[in-house]
């Protein structure tokens, strides 16, 4: 049995998405910037896609900029608004696309505050409020966390930014399709999203930029995307992303049921703990098992055909434990045995049952090897 439970990393491209994209490879392959009919046909497809994506987050079509993905959208915002002497506020649990961009800005003389989160990963509104200063230009807080599934209270955080007159950006890469998004109600000025997490193609993303806000471009050239992001449009990607958005308006009740089945079952095991809140992304489970290390869990499961991910230090390139788990207060020694399971609409109960059975075996096996008990 092959079971894919790593949809937070990326997801299967839906066949209907592939089908929608195909004509734009071989028939309507014109450059949307060209005046001839080949180009204008492609432009029509891009235009409809832009409208669809805008509508999905309650924005206007001309507020959507196509990018190469979540990473680029995040980089654009962090690098394209603040100048030397300005202040950016973000959190300790952001994706590296935000954190590393912020680190680069610090080198360029921008001040950055990394907000603490509580032990479930929530940003406390009063913590944000008191961090905003005179020179604060931008607040960037992810809508939903990719590791532990925490969903922030966007309306509250957005209202604070509005009241204080600072721009509010959110990385919604993991939230799209799982949490309903309304940039107006949430007072969001800028939003990043990505195609490949929601059964769309890889290498396509959007940045929503509210009308009137100026973002300095990262990529210069022919002036595409209102001059904000040059480069020939990724027509197939754009069409695929819009199709994926159309398909992701589905009921997550079944996903939530499977998620909670996994959580309940894993917490029955001794010395296990749920990372993140109970009320979380419908597709996310993150559990830490004491006395063992995540890479071993991942590879044993892989041997059984099951794909998950881990926040262990040994399996990361940096050899550091997950910054998110440390930020919610896990001790490094208890963060190594963490496993993240991320569901998609394709996962079945039989897959979940198979995974749970295999995982129990793996935990027992690895704990039997461990010097620290749990035997």
């Amino acid at each position: 049995m092959r079971v894919y439970l790593d949809n937070g990393a990326t997801s299967k491209t839906d066949e209907r998405v592939v089908e929608a994209m195909l004509p734009y490879f071989t028939e309507d392959y014109g450059n949307p910037a060209s005046l001839h009919t080949f180009g204008q046909t492609a432009l029509e497809g891009v235009k409809k896609a832009r409208e669809k994506l805008a509508k999905f987050i309650n924005a206007e079509a001309d507020e959507i900029i196509f990018t190469s993905g979540g990473t680029e959208s995040d980089n654009m915002v962090i690098q394209g608004i603040a100048k030397e002497g300005d202040h950016i506020i973000t959190t300790k649990i952001e994706h590296p696309a935000i954190l590393e961009s912020c680190a680069a800005m610090e080198k360029r003389g921008v001040e950055v505050t990394y907000l603490d989160v509580d032990n479930e990963g929530y940003v406390k509104p009063e913590v944000l409020k008191s961090a905003i200063k005179k020179n604060t230009k931008l607040v960037s807080i992810m809508m939903a966390n990719n590791e532990i599934g925490t969903i922030q209270d966007m309306e509250k955080l957005g209202a604070i930014c509005k009241e204080k007159g600072v721009l509010f950006h959110t990385d919604a890469v993991q939230a799209v399709g799982k949490v309903s998004i309304d940039v107006k109600a949430m007072n969001i000025d800028l939003l990043s999203a990505s195609g490949h997490k929601i059964h769309g193609p890889k290498g396509i993303g959007i940045l929503y930029v509210k009308n009137g806000i100026k973002v300095r471009p990262l990529i210069f050239g022919g002036g595409h995307e209102s001059g904000m992001r040059s480069g020939t449009s990724n027509t197939t990607g754009i069409i695929g992303f819009a199709k994926a958005i159309e398909l992701c308006n589905v009921d997550v009740k079944e996903m939530v049921r499977l998620r909670d089945k996994i959580i309940d079952s894993l917490l029955e095991l001794p010395d296990s703990r749920l990372n993140g809140p109970k009320d979380r992304l419908p597709n996310n489970v993150n559990v830490a098992f004491k006395y063992i290390e995540g890479e071993g869990i991942l590879l044993h499961l892989d041997g059984a055909g099951i794909a998950v991910s881990t926040g262990s230090a040994c399996s990361s390139l940096s050899l550091k434990p997950s910054h998110v788990l440390l930020a919610i207060g896990l001790k490094p020694e208890n963060s190594h045995g963490s496993v993240r399971i991320t569901l998609s609409r394709y996962n079945t109960e039989a897959e979940v049952d198979y995974f749970l059975k295999e995982l129990r075996g793996v935990i027992t096996k690895l704990r039997a090897l461990s010097p620290f008990g749990g035997k």
Binding site: E293, E333, L369, P371
Partner: protein, 126 residues
């Protein structure tokens, strides 16, 4: 899986000499839980020879495989020979380790040395 060699994967999936031997004289403890790899290597010594050996490891696949491999290399060896098992030797017998794993996960040779040191200290006390 291209990260690890087939020998590493074999030792990870089917580790040899696991757990404490029935009787053991000394233990070498290396690594630390904060960085994620911890190894306890247990030895039984008879007439200057490692007559039994076992390990307990919390760690990644590389940590488990190096522990298993080092016990296999050291079993039946004299203390002098076992003391001179190097990290490189362990990695070589495993048909190589990824560069990032050469340091923190490749502690097993140190574990043997610690166990022998611990053994000698105990003998000297008697």
């Amino acid at each position: 899986m291209a990260l690890y060699s087939d020998v590493v994967m074999d030792h990870f999936k089917n580790p040899r000499n696991i757990g404490k031997p029935k009787k053991w004289d000394a233990v070498g403890q290396v690594g630390n839980a904060i960085c994620g790899d911890v190894m306890y290597i247990y030895i039984k010594v008879d007439d200057n020879i490692i007559s039994d050996i076992g390990f307990e490891t919390m760690g990644c696949a590389a940590a488990i495989a190096t522990s298993s491999m080092v016990t296999e290399i050291a079993m039946g060896k004299t203390l002098e020979v076992a003391e001179n098992i190097t990290r490189e030797k362990v990695a070589e017998n495993l048909k190589g380790l990824p560069p990032v794993k050469m340091h923190c996960s490749n502690l097993a040779a140190d574990g043997i040395r610690e166990a022998i040191k611990n053994y000698k200290e105990k003998v000297n006390k008697e």
